[in-house]
């Protein structure tokens, strides 16, 4: 391979980052980004051969978009999306004294306040239990020797079933006040000390995540080219929990819009998909997926069907995955423990690097990243402080640094690596195959692995969000510079043009360009009423979590299709053309205007000249700017229509309308029901309702009043509802002809869930909403793999606000297993059918968390394994027809519990609760 024989002169001074007068920072590559376009002076006289090369624009043209913003490609998912946390939710909202000395204070007080108000039961429950023996709460007389028992009956009477906690202005009796004064300090300290610390920790974690969400590094949108050049597949996560991996066939055409072919193939996983990597090596297309604690690989068959290869469990959490561009089926995976492994489904795992400490200097981040290099046996291992080249065959601690956050690259203080990507190209003529892209929060560096530590190029990207996505594209024309796409999490897109064949150092061939983001599409949508407008706006502002560009085959002029995936699960696309620069009369005529007489042709530009002293915002409209054409508007309108049909997300939290006081007085048989109700509600992730907890204890009706008339319906109704029979009264009023509506809707929801159980299936995009009682597909019934996967998905996660999913998962992990078997058919879930086979009652279900062999694909809690990256053939190869393995599932399937005879079906097992439920923050 050629090495550029004339490198740009630069100082090389090792040192810590942020040396304000590091001489490197004065040099052209570092100091002035735009001046970088200057070529380094060659060792031949520049006056002999002045570099009057045609600029990029005149030589190659300009990338232009069809529409001012990306257009929706797929219809919005059936799940509502609640927008992310913002800094406003987390930070103290007082006025700052010095608004520019950035000061972030996490608002724990407000959160704690809310929590105590909403979940007093949880906060004070344990203490209450401890003190319970010393208080008499109205039970039959209890007294124990040597113990003071206080009578709290009067206190409870004062409370009278009210919940003063929901109302700050509630009346307080003297007794209550006295009690709160005496007990307040004790109760408060307890809560503050234990809860406050935890809450602060949690909020701080959230705040860090908001500032830098490293989970989505690399992006979760991939493109797999098909056997025919004009057909391919988009691979992306869908669903509220991002746990559904979709393979959508797409037909490309040289001139018209891309078309989604049929419905996507869906695979339900047991964890959110964070990163999708696709690669075709020697005609073998592979898709690698990273979840929080698992990595998995699929092979795409020639017909385009995904075939699972292997799953890898990572106890400490996975941070990065990449596929080898050289050898089919070879991957590099990184774990939070600091381990980097080479992984191939055939040969298993090989640890090539393990160091809990960071490479260059100490940094608290446990983020690790690995990618391949031009040598198939060398890997780059990156963390926040540096990138190292490591030989797979050598000992793990050898290897040299490729990049270091320091003075060599004139890094700033506090600069950290956010992305390290190998930019290997298949055509070495266009760009050297030894280049690596390194992005920090400030700049972008290009490094050649043959000349470590000295960046070949540096550009300050000035993105206001972490640049976590990058893709290098083939040259649009032979010899033309290569477009490099850079995407920030906030949706900002940049396109750079890299030139310099294998014998020249890489350079920017043209000033970088910004591309429209999803937010720019807003004007393409019809104006809605404020509520809808806000919904749309939030949706379009969702973080960018995936980016992939595809070059359609046989285009008359160079074209690329840019697909974008947002955190709301929306896939948008945009078509970019490299148009010859005929329209830019602007540039050409102006260039001439210095010397020639072109002025008369351009009155508009002349006027600019005169008014240039005055800033005018709408000056110089880009002549080539695209406008919204009717087809684009119609496309947006269609998408919006579907979006507005999606039911709204539930409000993230409303205080419960029941009091735990009722739980205490329940009889033992009722308690079981309550627990089941609780569990059912949690499983479905919905709000706990009064109906779930059984009838209210009979309380005295309010004093009767004079009836308003002979047929006082209002009074009747009030009375009925006071006794908890409001619904029955309503039914009787309706003549009993209608099935209670509530029940109907519940049924509907349940069948939706059950219909989405099958793992590998193809249904229409919206069948989750429309096609209820659809029969399970044949694949669903026959395939062992799909059956095992069936259990692996967690439907409850779909309707739970994202911020509470983890808590719920933690909670459910300690619960006895759900009886998933009873869900496999929609009928068994029908709440009205209560004749369940009772013969199987005796069979005991296998708790999922206790059997390591039932560890399935992407489970939230992998079984405890000693190594950070374990590869357990039993637990991972769930796709192989392992008889022992499937039998475990059968035993789980067949164990159907008897259901209580309430309206709400309970899917819970009979084991007692192990832990107090903690809903909340």
């Amino acid at each position: 391979m050629d090495f550029p024989d004339d490198l740009f002169p630069t100082f090389f001074l090792p040192g810590p980052p942020g040396l304000s007068d590091s001489p490197g920072s004065y040099l052209a590559p570092a100091w002035s980004d735009y001046m970088q376009l200057l070529k380094p002076p060659q060792t031949q006289d520049p006056s002999v051969n002045p570099q009057h090369e045609a600029s990029y624009v005149t030589k190659w043209g300009r990338w232009r978009s069809d529409s001012p913003g990306p257009l929706p490609f797929l219809r919005p998912g059936a799940d509502p999306w609640d927008s992310e946390l913002t800094s406003r939710d987390l930070l103290f909202r007082g006025r700052l004294r010095h608004p520019f000395g950035a000061k972030a204070t996490i608002d724990v007080i407000d959160q704690l306040n809310q929590f105590l108000r909403d979940h007093g039961d949880i906060a004070f429950g344990p203490l209450g239990k401890l003190l319970q023996e010393n208080f008499n709460l109205g039970e039959p007389k209890k007294s124990r020797k040597g113990r003071t028992v206080m009578n709290a009956e009067r206190l409870l009477q004062d409370l009278g079933g009210h919940q003063p906690k929901g109302c700050p202005w509630a009346h307080l009796s003297t007794r209550q006040r006295r009690f709160s004064l005496l007990g307040g300090t004790v109760l408060g300290e307890e809560v503050e000390g234990l809860l406050g610390g935890l809450l602060h920790e949690e909020l701080e974690g959230r705040w860090k995540e908001l500032l830098l969400d490293e989970a989505s590094t690399g992006g979760a949108l991939g493109w797999v080219p098909g056997a025919k050049p004009h057909v391919g597949q988009l691979v992306y996560p869908a669903g509220r929990a991002y746990d559904q991996l979709n393979f959508q066939k797409v037909k490309l055409s040289p001139t018209s819009e891309p078309q989604a072919l049929g419905d996507p193939t869906r695979i339900l996983l047991r964890g959110p998909v964070r990163q999708v990597v696709t690669r075709t090596v020697q005609e073998e297309a592979l898709v690698a997926v990273r979840s929080d604690h698992h990595c998995a690989v699929w092979k795409i068959s020639r017909q385009g069907h995904p075939e699972p290869l292997q799953v890898l469990g990572m106890e400490k959490g996975a941070t990065g995955i990449s596929l080898s561009p050289h050898l089919p089926g070879e991957l590099a995976v990184c774990s939070r423990s600091g381990a980097v492994c080479l992984w191939s489904p055939q040969n298993g795992l090989q640890q090539i690097h393990k160091d809990p400490e960071t490479l260059v200097f100490k940094d608290p981040s446990s983020w690790r990243w690995a990618d391949f290099t031009a040598h198939p046996r060398m890997l780059t291992v990156a963390d926040r402080t540096g990138v190292r080249l490591t030989d797979v065959r050598g000992p793990s601690d050898c290897g040299e640094l490729l990049f270091r956050v320091g003075a060599e690259a004139s890094c700033q203080r506090g600069e950290r690596i956010l992305l390290a990507q190998y930019l290997g190209t298949s055509s070495p003529l266009s760009l050297s195959p030894t280049l690596h892209l390194i992005c920090t929060q400030f700049s972008l560096y290009l490094l050649d692995e043959r000349l470590p530590l000295v960046p070949m190029m540096k550009w300050t990207h000035a993105l206001m969000s972490p640049p976590l996505l990058a893709q290098l594209l083939p040259p649009p024309r032979p010899g033309a510079p290569l477009p490099l796409l850079l995407g920030g999490l906030g949706g900002h897109l940049r396109m750079l043009h890299l030139s310099g064949g294998s014998s020249r150092s890489p350079q920017l061939a043209a000033p970088p360009q910004s591309l429209p983001s999803l937010g720019d599409s807003l004007p393409g949508f019809p104006v809605l009423e404020p509520h809808g407008q806000q919904l749309l706006q939030e949706r379009l502002k969702a973080p960018l979590t995936g980016l992939t560009a595809v070059v359609p085959p046989r285009c008359p002029s160079p074209t690329m299709l840019l697909f974008q995936l947002s955190a709301a699960g929306d896939v948008f696309y945009q078509r970019l053309w490299l148009q010859p620069d005929t329209t830019s009369t602007n540039a050409d005529s102006l260039q001439d205007s210095n010397s020639s007489t072109d002025h008369a042709d351009d009155p508009e530009l002349d006027s600019h000249d005169q008014t240039s002293a005055l800033p005018s915002l709408d000056a110089a409209p880009d002549p080539g700017a695209a406008s919204w054409n009717p087809r684009a508007v119609a496309c947006c309108r269609r998408w919006l229509k579907t979006l507005l049909q999606v039911p709204q997300a539930l409000p993230s939290w409303t205080p419960p309308t029941f009091s735990q006081r009722y739980l205490r007085w329940l009889k033992d048989e009722d308690k079981g029901k309550v627990r089941e109700g609780l569990r059912a509600a949690m499983t479905e992730g919905r709000l706990l309702q009064q109906g779930d907890l059984g009838p209210l204890p009979p309380s005295e009706p309010p004093p009767a009043h004079e009836p308003f008339g002979p047929e006082d319906k209002l009074t009747e109704r009030l009375e009925a509802s006071w006794e908890g029979k409001g619904a029955i009264w309503w039914d009787s009023q309706q003549g009993g002809s209608q099935v209670p509506r509530k029940r109907q809707s519940r049924e509907k929801r349940r069948t939706q869930l059950s219909s989405s159980f099958s793992s590998v299936r193809t249904t229409s995009d919206f069948s989750d909403v429309d096609g209820h009682h659809e029969a399970p597909s044949p694949l669903h019934r026959t395939s062992e793999a799909s059956q095992s996967l069936e259990l692996s998905q967690e439907p409850w996660a779909r309707s739970v606000p994202r911020e509470r999913r983890q808590t719920l998962r933690d909670y459910l992990a300690v619960l006895p297993p759900l009886d998933s078997g009873s869900r496999s058919t929609p009928q068994s879930q029908n709440p009205s059918s209560q004749n369940f086979p009772t013969s199987e009652q005796g069979r005991c279900s296998v708790p999922r968390s206790q059997n390591p062999r039932t560890q399935t694909l992407l489970s939230p809690h992998p079984g405890s394994s000693s190594a950070p990256c374990t590869q357990n053939p039993n637990s991972q190869s769930l796709f192989s027809p392992d008889p022992g393995f499937s039998s475990v599932f059968h035993s789980q399937n067949s164990s159907i519990q008897s259901l209580p005879s309430r309206h709400t079906p309970s899917l819970a097992g009979s084991q007692p609760l192990k832990k107090k439920p903690r809903m909340g923050f």
Binding site: Y26, G414, S514, S612
Partner: protein, 451 residues
């Protein structure tokens, strides 16, 4: 008073920055942090202060630049000048640098801008802040060089070099050296022009000696400056090249060799492959002994095993009389073919096939096995897969034949690649395939192992 209040402001700011780093957890500095805080704070109240308008304006300029709307950007830049009125001296400095950075970018691309405009802007900016003088001068000179205006650039560099303002900081001293080095480079350009003139025209004695004198003075000017910069660690390819060329011309071979050796072997310098290549080329021109050349390339082989000069290195080793060099020659080829960029390098494959044949004949099987042992688990898929056999046969039959031969030796006659190519080749080149097959039957490392 002013200085005092600035001091006060700075201390306040530093305090706040510390707090910010506590609040956001890790010590990582995120540029979007202040935006998040602004969002929280400014929600609901409308007043926009000076600093906010300035940063909004900066954003507008950057956006316009990214959309290549140079005119618009220049108009926004006029509004940005208010940033120079900031109370905080540090912020004023940053604003100054921003104005230079953005302004030069706009003027570089603006269709209406000319060299004169750019120069006027640069001259203006140079004199605003003391700290920026040298940097802007250098950038300005580079710009002029890019436009082919060497004399202007030279004058500029000269001016910058003679500039003095109080005591210079260490970095400014280095920068001055860099400026001098660029000036030296320009002197070298003149020198080399004069040299070609001198060689082209036959002049009488007097004119020749005058011209030689003139040339020599350029050499002296250039060499002083270039010599200085080369001592500082860095990547100085153009400087080293031109300096060595001049030294060579005046017959100072030892000096030139010393410069190149220092440039290649000084540990403070980055491991620049070019430094070794320059040294090798110099020694080769000097007709240095082969051992010397081999030792230079040996180091380059360790740093960049994929360098194209490695094929030359291989030939050198092959010609050598030492057996260890012959062994290294094989290892060099193995290493070259490891790289994805050299997969289809037909020369490398031809050398490899030929050399393998030679080695097998010489019965140095252990060498092949040694090189093969670390590659046997991945070379078959990397080089000799069925897919590649089909592809290579379709695209380049000669390459396919070379590869098939090596695959036969390394993997035996049962290898997919070998089988495919020999089957396909049988129809076309029956004779050569037959000889190849015969050789592979006799010599391959698989069968030899069994023996």
């Amino acid at each position: 008073m002013d200085a005092f209040s600035e001091e006060l402001m700075r201390s306040v700011e530093e305090d706040d920055q510390e707090k910010a780093s506590v609040g956001c957890g890790p010590e990582i500095h995120l540029p979007w942090l202040s935006q998040h805080i602004q969002n929280t704070v400014s929600h609901g109240h409308k007043g926009i202060n000076f600093a906010q308008t300035t940063s909004i304006c900066l954003n507008f300029i950057q956006e316009a630049l990214l959309k290549h709307q140079w005119q618009q950007a220049s108009e926004f830049l006029q509004c940005y000048f208010q940033a120079l009125e900031d109370f905080n001296s540090q912020k004023r400095q940053v604003a100054l640098q921003n104005i230079w950075k953005l302004g030069s970018a706009i003027l570089y691309h603006h269709p209406k801008s000319s060299v004169e405009t750019f120069s006027a802007f640069a001259d203006r900016m140079k004199n605003i802040g003391v700290q920026n003088y040298l940097k802007i001068s250098l950038q300005h000179a580079l710009y002029l060089l890019h436009k082919g205006m060497v004399e202007e650039a030279y004058r500029n560099l000269n001016q910058a070099e003679s500039w003095r303002y109080g005591e210079m900081s260490a970095s400014q001293e280095k920068l001055i050296k860099l400026i001098q080095a660029y000036r030296g480079l320009l002197d070298y350009y003149t020198w080399s022009k004069k040299r070609t003139e001198l060689s082209k025209f036959d002049m009488d004695g007097f004119a020749t000696s005058a011209a030689t004198q003139d040339m020599h003075s350029y050499f002296r000017q250039a060499s002083v400056n270039l010599h200085e910069i080369i001592k500082i660690p860095g990547v100085w390819d153009p400087f080293v090249k031109s300096y060595v060329e001049m030294l060579e011309f005046y017959g100072d071979q030892d000096g030139a060799r010393q410069v190149l050796t220092d440039y290649a072997y000084d540990n403070n310098f980055p491991s620049n492959p070019n430094a070794h290549v320059y040294l090798y080329k110099f020694l080769k021109k000097e007709k240095a002994p082969e051992d010397k050349l081999i030792s230079v390339l040996k180091i380059l082989h360790q740093i960049v095993p994929s360098h194209k000069i490695m094929l030359e290195f291989h030939m050198l080793l092959r010609k050598s009389k030492k057996e260890e060099h012959h062994k290294l020659g094989l290892e060099v080829l193995f290493a070259v073919l490891d790289f994805s960029g050299c997969i289809e390098n037909i020369t490398a494959w031809r050398y490899f096939a030929k050399y393998l044949k030679q080695i097998m004949m010489e019965k140095h099987l252990d060498w092949v096995q040694e090189g093969w042992s670390s590659r046997k688990d991945w070379w078959p898929t990397f080089h000799f897969s069925y897919y590649l056999a089909k592809k290579n046969w379709k695209e380049n039959k000669i390459l396919a034949l070379e590869k098939a031969f090596t695959s036969g030796i390394l993997l035996g006659k049962g290898c997919k690649y070998f089988m495919y190519v020999s089957k396909q080749g049988h129809k076309v080149q029956e004779k050569s395939i037959k000889t190849m097959k015969k050789f592979v039957m006799k010599h391959n490392i698989l069968d030899s192992k069994e023996l």
